[in-house]
Amino acid sequence: MANPSPGPSAEPSAPIVSLCDVVKDYPLGKLTVRAIRGVDLDIQAGEFTVIAGPSGSGKTTLLNMIGCIDTATSGTVLVGGQDTAKLSDRKLTQLRLDTLGFIFQSFNLVNVLDAFQNVQFPLLLQGTYSAAERKDMVEGLLQRVGLGDQIHKRPNELSGGQRQRVAIARALVTTPRIVLADEPTANLDSKTGNDIVDLMRELNRDEGTTFIFSTHDQNVIDRADRIVRIVDGLIADDTAQQRVQDAGA
């Protein structure tokens, strides 16, 4: 990545995601709905963070802004040290491609491509690796998520859990610094959901990838490092904050 972002090693305390007084309004007819009402949030590299809250509390809105697919109405959003409000659509797209990975609630695989091609897709967009390298990377990752024998299946030939594994592999194949997941287990049964969270934890531990995901599933919340509770567009509770407070007390 060309952008000179302050890496965690250079300045250990610099957060990889930093939100400062972020407000997000949605127009709704003649009214506006304030979905996020002034949020300050720093996330450090390597953290495994859950954004928890009831439906409609603003989790997805928050993730959209962190994921550079939507912009804040006011306040600043820094991703990898860059102010996302100041980047062009091209630059933002490039940032998403290189720095971010996405896991969606509905998996969002490209239906006409098989598992291998779906995972390979971001690598092709990057255009930096040879075919052989790509093959190794993609097959290695599919193996890692437990789909070594389903490489050439199309999404409609896979179960929900298997699809979300493909989506995880796709999110991770470019070794992004941040992976965003919006309620990744909402469309899965609890057993499969747990397996998926286990897998993400494992990858977080092994690769040091930063995970930020939203959920209202208590099973999932219980396994996070850090829990940010959000209610009506405001942070109601942040375990990292508590830790600081605990440490201070």
Partner: protein, 702 residues
């Protein structure tokens, strides 16, 4: 996304998307295939028509270029000129020097002089012929035949009565109309039988002078005549061939009728109708069940009198026996020739073939089939430029046609005459006539005589060629003929049988000339050369290409091409709109997929290319199918031929059928058009797709 692998995935995605949305692909694909088929087939047909039309026009009358006077008021129209000889083409006063100049130019092979003019021939009216027959019957003292013919006269008089009655209402001369009606009543009354028996001569004169003039004139034939150097003409235009009779012998004057004209206009009504029936039946039409056709047959049969009155008394009996034999059990019981003939002519699908043959075998030899017979002499009447009528007797040597164009009225519209005859009809004075005029001028002491005055002096009252009325009987020669002698005289002696030298024939005034090149590619160069020489030598010429010279027909390929272009444009637009709408809807359906791709790092460009690629691939596949179908279709047409169902098509197709061929250019045009449609129609949807915000991925439902 610069790597080949990306492109491969794009292509793969595009193809799979096409398969995944197969209904949409089928609709769009069919449209594109149809469009390609149309563009390729239409192009191939048009190109073939252009080629065949060029061939038929250049090889029949036009040559590659036509020259005519720069002073022309109107433009040259070799085919389908509408004005009855009224077009003013100016004149080329001396053909000799012009010809020598043109023939001196490189790539020019021939120059054929021409002159277009109109002439009129009066055919005899039916009553004239009936009265002639009645005269014969009186001479022979054949009372039975006299009775029959008088009956026919009364039939005609009955129709005349209606005409005169309706005319009398509007007439400015009611007294005259009353007199005419009285004359008709006289003939209709039973007393007239006695009058004919007592004093046949007086009765005949009465009929000749009081009844015959009431009838409309006999058939009036308008002949479009092209005067030309016939030896040169027949050599240069290799489609030209003599059908009946013979070529006009070298140095002799005369007329070659167009075979088409001869068959259609020169033929006796019943025979012409039967010919038309034959054509219709050959086309696969049936009489039974076709009300129009049935009526035509009935109307034709009702005209049996036209045959009957031409028959000699001795011929009637044997002919009726023969016809009854042909009809077999269908023959009527009656012995009356009227009933037998009418029944004979009342053909149906089963009897037509036999009776058609029998008509030509048994009836035709006994009657006059052609009004303007080959070998005979007719009086052509031309109108000079200042409105004087000129009449001259001309021998019909034969009929001609352009092979392949036999069925074309346009190609067959012109009759051919020698140049001397043309000049006489056109009214241009010869050197001798000019000398005559000089004498008149000197005698009258007129200082200067304009062309119109000169013609008035020459052809007008008391002039060299007699009065306007008298010209009708006045042959071109200066012999004076007594009225009674005239009928025979016309067919015998009053005809210019001199043998002219080539120079006398060809040199002098012409109106235009066909220029034939060794290769049509030199047309522009030769045109420029003639124009510059005409300028420098003061020849006063203008040059047009065959397409312009042919008149409206020549422009027809432009028209057809225009129609095809408009059709393609309309289909293009419709296809564009349909594909556009379909793709916009497809984009709506695929927003989640697009948003996801955008969210995980695909640039807008990628989405645009993906969408464009989809339709271009579809376009190429459909184009290949459409093009393939077009190849097969044109190939099939090229094998069986496209029938020239309309007269003008015979000329365009250079024959009764067009055998189209397909060129690589036609296919390439198809490919270009289909690709352009694909790209244009997807431009908007793909931009729309690229505008799908990545955030929709988060809202996505599977």
């Amino acid at each position: 996304m610069n790597s080949l692998a990306t492109l491969r995935v794009l292509v793969e995605m595009a193809i799979r998307d096409l398969g995944a949305h197969w209904v949409k692909s089928l609709i769009v694909g069919s449209l594109l295939a149809f469009g390609t088929f149309l563009v390729v087939t239409g192009g191939a047909l048009l190109d073939s028509i252009s080629t065949s039309m060029e061939e038929s026009i250049t090889s029949s009358l036009a040559g590659h270029l036509q020259v005519y006077s720069a002073d022309a008021e109107d433009s040259l129209e070799l085919f389908g000129g509408t004005g009855m000889g009224s077009a003013d083409l100016g004149e080329i006063d001396e053909w000799g020097p012009v010809r020598d100049t043109i023939l001196g130019i490189e790539h020019v092979e021939h120059a054929v002089p021409m002159g277009i003019t109109q002439a009129v021939v009066f055919g005899r009216s039916e009553i004239d012929r009936v009265l002639e027959a009645l005269g014969e019957a009186v001479d022979e003292g054949d009372v039975g035949r006299q009775q029959a013919l008088l009956g026919h006269v009364r039939t005609i008089a009955a129709t005349l009565r209606e005409e005169v009655e309706s005319r009398s209402i509007t007439s400015s001369d009611p007294e005259r109309a009353a007199e005419d009606l009285a004359a008709i009543e006289e003939v209709m009354s039973a007393d007239f039988d006695a009058r004919l028996a007592e004093d046949p001569g007086e009765a005949l004169i009465f009929l000749d002078t009081r009844i015959a003039p009431l009838a409309q004139d006999g058939q009036l034939y308008y002949l479009r005549c092209i005067g030309t150097d016939l030896d040169e003409f027949s050599e240069v235009f290799d489609r030209f061939r003599i059908v009946d009779g013979q070529m006009i012998p070298e140095g002799r004057r005369g007329l070659l009728l167009s075979k088409r004209f001869y068959e259609i206009w020169g033929k006796m009504t019943i025979a012409r109708n039967l010919d038309a029936f034959e054509d219709r039946i050959e086309e696969g039409k049936r009489i039974a069940g076709d009300a129009t056709f049935e009526n035509l047959v009935k109307a034709n049969a009702a005209q049996y009198q036209r045959i009957l009155f031409q028959l000699e008394p001795g011929e009637v009996g044997p002919l009726m026996t023969t016809l009854k034999g042909v009809m077999g059990t269908a023959a009527p019981d009656s012995e009356a020739p009227e009933e037998i003939l009418e029944a004979f002519l009342l053909v149906d699908d089963d009897t037509f073939a036999a009776r058609y043959a029998a008509f030509y075998e048994h009836i035709a030899p006994l009657i006059t089939i052609y009004e303007l017979p080959v070998g005979g002499v007719i009086t052509l009447r031309g109108f000079t430029k200042s409105g004087y009528m000129r009449a001259l007797n001309v021998r019909i040597w034969g009929t001609y046609e352009f092979s392949g164009l036999e069925k074309s009225d346009l190609a067959g519209a012109s009759n051919l005459v020698d140049l001397v005859t043309f000049r006489d009809l056109y009214g241009k004075m010869s050197a001798a006539q000019q000398a005559e005029l000089e004498d008149i001028r000197v005698e009258a002491g007129i200082a200067d005589v304009s062309r119109d005055d000169a013609e008035a002096a020459l052809f007008g009252e008391g002039g060299l060629f007699g009065s306007q009325e008298r010209t009708v009987e006045e042959p071109e020669e200066e012999e004076l003929v007594e009225e009674e002698e005239l009928d025979e005289a016309v067919s015998l002696s009053l005809i210019d049988d001199r043998v002219y030298s080539k120079a006398e024939m060809v040199e002098g005034m012409v109106l235009n000339a066909a220029v034939i090149l060794d290769d049509p590619v030199h047309m522009p160069a030769v045109t420029a050369e003639i124009e510059s020489l005409a300028e420098s030598e003061g020849l006063g010429l203008q040059v047009v290409d065959w397409q312009t010279a042919a008149g409206i027909v020549g422009q027809l390929t432009y028209v057809l091409r225009g129609v095809l272009l408009v059709a393609i444009f309309v289909i293009f637009l419709v296809t564009l709109v349909i594909i556009n709408n379909t793709m916009v809807m497809a984009t709506m359906d695929r927003t989640t997929e697009i948003g996801t791709m955008r969210a995980i790092g695909a640039q807008r460009r990628f989405v645009i290319v993906l969408f464009l690629l989809e339709t271009v691939i579809l376009g190429l596949i459909s184009g290949a199918i459409g093009g393939g179908l077009a190849i097969a279709f044109v190939g099939w047409l090229g094998h069986v031929g496209v029938p020239a169902v309309q007269d003008i098509l015979v000329l365009l197709f250079a024959g009764p059928r067009l055998y189209p061929t397909l060129s690589l250019g036609n296919l390439l045009t198809g490919v270009v058009v289909v690709t352009a449609i694909s790209l244009l129609s997807t431009l908007y949807p793909s931009v729309l797709a690229a505008r799908v915000p990545p955030v929709v991925a988060m809202r996505g439902k599977e």
